[in-house]
Symmetry: C2
Subunit: 595 residues, 2 copies
């Protein structure tokens, strides 16, 4: 089992679909132009394939081990791989130069992040959460906090975590009980139990920086009384080096279905010393900066894993000999044909590929808008970028994790009985990826965020802008015969999405449960339409290359996959529209006792 | 975590939908009339809930243990539970009186089989395969073989297995290499390796009867040279008791994603003594009797597991307090509302329920036709029963396992993060159920069997009969206003299925890859339509009760679920039709190197 980093497709997206060279005059983008980009993609891919991928089954089988002294041992090889990650400067790719980072656009960092998650999702979570902690302190921290923590987090010398969940609350953070008592020196004493803390304790870094949600004594009830604190495992001394051991301990590890290589910790804060990040009682605002970034990252994990699972399935389908092709032997000298000749095997591979490549395009396209929201000199581009990031984050997270998991399950199915055994990698991809539909906000929460908050924001400006962009694309390419197989279905899907949006506006206000009942189907319809747009953009870019005489079969494959998406995946949009328009009445009519 | 056997729904289906009392004059059915049926359902449910369900997590966590002496220890409690199963006479329910069985209709045996699989799927596989071995010998064995083996298998005193798969062939049984050498005494020496043999070795019964596919020396190549043998672990002595140890050994166990409580064995036949079952070179015919029965049983496993997973999710959703209802607090004195108030949680529960109860109806309805194919005095009823069994077996297996797995995954999702931890049962249901989409013929093979073999058999007689039955139901109830929400959608789905069937007839012959490319979507469309029919039948039965003054809310719940199915699941039919009509061209156009 080998993992091949999808460098070719990443470069195609960045260069030929997104044309990031257009932005070479903007901060960060200039650092990722030309051959530098190739070097980054290739180096990242090599590190992922050679260092991280071989540790993936090791992590699954060994898991992490907790000791009564509250230490946690990560699987063999993880600590050494992490050391290489830090030394290679990979962590610093996406951090600001002011804190020792390379300041590359987030869209380029995502390419690295993808191959890390594709090669070893459980490993990738340690740096992933560290990046999240970096972002939270960058957004909410004081200048002193930034100077103290950001360089260490940017390089990866220290790791970071998010301490949100408590036994009685995950989604409903207003119920948090962990308390913070102000001390005369300006610090706080934090006391409470946090659960499901990914990377809460481990042996890979000299310090671990916990970002902890807690309630300051006397704070208002609910979400308006939650503050954010930074609680380092070792309190930095005057020189900024790890000093005194703080009173935050790992009390045990969770047994999980997957991501065994990541330590999922019960964390006890026993009067731990913490410092406020951002304003009192406004901790959720800062945490949501971190959370939104994490949600895009989770969509990326699912697509990265689906790519890896697809690769395993494709390799298996070319090696495994079983039955003959329906149109006569394709491997006449062998005892049977490779199973890739069978249409139903092909269907699963094509489905996965259309989701993986369309999903990657959607991730990169969205991330580019996120970059532009920060660095574009044009106000309307910055505003559009911010609108899109807000609107599309729940779609990226919800749609891509649902579909990524399905792709992993299809990859297992291609393996037949072998897929169910742990001798092949397929089971691990399914078990690991399943969490992406849940953490950083379940997909149901994503759907509610989309219909209840994002759609309505600024009078629906973001969605209207997105619809208008698709309309403009359709109008501009209406007369292109070669694009007809893509433009027509895209226009139809967008019309259905608009109809669904109208239905929501008319019926969600009358009865909010109509919006709740429609939310998941609406998110699916949105995701299907977004990927149709991505495939239309990709097909256009590929056709341009072909028209210019390019003979690399990569481009024809792209066009074929775009057609497949339109023919074999997009037709699901009509079912989602039909379902959501039935409203909440029947769905909600049974009393709870009937369940 | 408790498992509540769905006795009420089983009784509703048997009595009020299928009206099995109509057949009380037929062999077997007379034994299951009136209160006897209640006693069977209740006794089976009690055994499943009290004895088997508590062992389900034990089996998952302990798994089976292989020893170098080739013995296998099942999880704690399994052997004792099996003893109780045999002593309680449960195994004998569905076997013929001639061999010590109770001769009950298979549809009643299925009710028992469901609760066994729902409570503990890994355990249920041991008796399930024993029943399969019983059927193979009953169909293919000599009178002496029947007298020797059937009473022991009927009671469960001995267990049975199917030895089909070899490392290089699972689906493609024509490649089997295990060889059988005739001996002067009429027996054969069997040599070869079989893999993935469920229950191949264990400590629960005094003997294990392997049914083994092998090739007699000099037999023709391919599937026409495969014979079936009975290879007992201990060769029966003159009195029919276990005697000399045969040369068939378990060489190891498979590590698997789920069903850890079932021993999945590598079996070495080292010149083992076996006896031919049925004719030389016609082993697959007998094996397929066993296999078809097993396929229905696998569909049942998936629905049984989905029921159990749904129960766990429903219980969790009523206990877990998180966020407030969109229409205002429903649990104002608590810190938050139970999550069942949220529409998207309700959606998952309703989806699962509609699939579980519709799927159970489809299983029982199909099984009743199987019974009638054997015992009806009317030739046309017998023929229709046999036609339906053949036609619907791949639909039952493929559709119900796909949807049952989805329901288990939804049940995990309702649990949120808890579902991903192994402290809750949700993960085990997902991991265990995943195999149902694979074993006894992958779902892709089911789809090919449906479009390539079953549809065309006898000039399409079975499908035309099924379509005509739905047409007749629609015509007979067209004027019933209370049935309009069910009859209309059913008619529409059936029209789509018929359109798909026409498309297959027109395009599958031109290019068989069109049939292959359409097969899975066709199977899904068939399953959706079949469940629509089941829900229409169920709604009709429930409405009749309500009209007669019955106030048990069970009936109104049934009608609501039927409406939900029509509104929220059946609309998928259109997408499957649209997809399959795109044919094989794009799906098959990439060369293998492009993957």
């Amino acid at each position: 089992m080998t993992y091949t980093p999808p460098i070719r497709d990443q470069a195609f997206l960045l260069r030929e679909v997104l044309e990031i060279d257009r932005y070479a005059n903007l901060p960060g983008f200039s650092e990722a132009a030309g051959e530098v980009l190739d070097q980054i993609l290739e180096g990242a891919g090599q590190f992922a394939a050679e260092v991280l991928a071989p540790l993936n089954p090791v992590g699954d089988k060994q898991g992490c081990a907790w000791s009564p002294d509250h230490s946690v041992k990560t699987p063999d090889g993880f600590a050494e791989a992490y050391r290489q990650l830090v030394e290679g400067g990979w962590m610093a790719l996406g951090a600001e130069p002011a804190y020792g980072g390379q300041g590359l656009p987030h869209v380029v960092y995502m390419a690295f992040s993808e191959v890390m998650s594709g090669a070893n999702m459980a490993f990738g979570m340690y740096p992933g959460l560290t990046h999240g902690a970096y972002s939270a302190i960058r957004v909410g921290g004081t200048e002193a906090q930034k100077q103290l923590y950001l360089p260490k987090l940017a390089s990866g010398q220290w790791c970071g975590t998010m301490n949100l969940t408590e036994p009685h609350c995950g989604t409903d953070l207003g119920l948090i009980r962990t308390k913070a008592v102000p001390q005369p020196d300006g610090s706080y004493r934090i006391t409470g139990q946090k659960i499901w803390i990914s990377g809460g304790e481990h042996d890979m870094a000299e310090n671990i920086v916990h970002l902890v949600l807690a309630r300051i004594e006397g704070a208002p009830a609910g979400t308006r009384g939650i503050s954010l604190f930074v609680v380092p495992k070792f309190i930095p001394d005057a020189d900024g080096n790890p000093g005194e051991r703080n009173s935050v301990f790992c009390a045990g590890l969770e047994e999980k279905m997957g991501i065994h290589g990541n330590a999922t910790c019960v964390m006890q804060h026993e009067g731990a010393t913490g410092w406020l990040v951002g304003e009192e009682n406004r901790g959720l605002q800062v945490m949501f900066v971190m959370m939104n970034e994490a949600r895009i990252g989770v969509g990326l994990q699912a697509i990265a894993q689906a790519e890896a699972a697809y690769q395993a399935a494709a390799a298996f389908s070319k090696e495994r000999l079983q039955m003959r092709s329906l149109t006569g032997p394709k491997n006449p000298d062998g005892p049977a044909d490779p199973i890739i000749v069978h249409p139903d095997v092909r269907r699963m591979l094509m489905d996965s590929r259309a989701i993986v490549e369309g999903g990657r395009a959607f991730l990169f396209w969205t991330a580019l808008h996120g970059d532009l929201s920060h660095v574009s000199p044009e106000e309307d581009v910055r505003r559009k970028g911010a609108d899109y990031m807000a609107l599309l984050t729940p779609v990226v997270k919800g749609f891509l994790t649902d579909r990524g998991f399905k792709a992993c399950s299809d990859a297992l199915q291609v393996h037949g009985g072998s897929g169910f055994t742990e001798h092949f990698p397929a089971s691990q991809y399914v078990r690991d990826t399943r969490i992406t539909m849940i953490y950083e906000g379940t997909n149901g929460i994503q759907a509610l965020d989309l219909v209840g908050r994002k759609l309505a924001a600024e009078g629906g400006r973001a969605a209207m802008t997105f619809f208008a962009e698709i309309d403009a694309f359709v109008a501009a390419h209406d007369d292109r015969a070669d694009l007809a197989p893509f433009v027509g279905p895209l226009a139809e899907a967008k019309a259905q999405l608009q109809e669904a949006t109208m239905w929501l506006m008319q019926n969600g206000l009358v009865n909010p449960e109509n919006a709740g009942a429609a939310s998941t189907d609406y998110l699916q319809l949105f995701g299907l339409t977004a990927l149709a747009y991505m495939w239309a953009l990709s097909a256009k870019a590929a056709l341009a290359k072909i028209a210019a005489g390019e003979t690399d079969p990569f481009y024809q494959t792209k066009v074929t996959l775009a057609r497949y998406y339109m023919e074999r995946i997009l037709p699901e949009s009509g079912a989602h529209l039909a379902k959501l328009k039935t409203g909440a009445e029947v769905m909600m009519s049974l009393p709870a006792e009937a369940f």
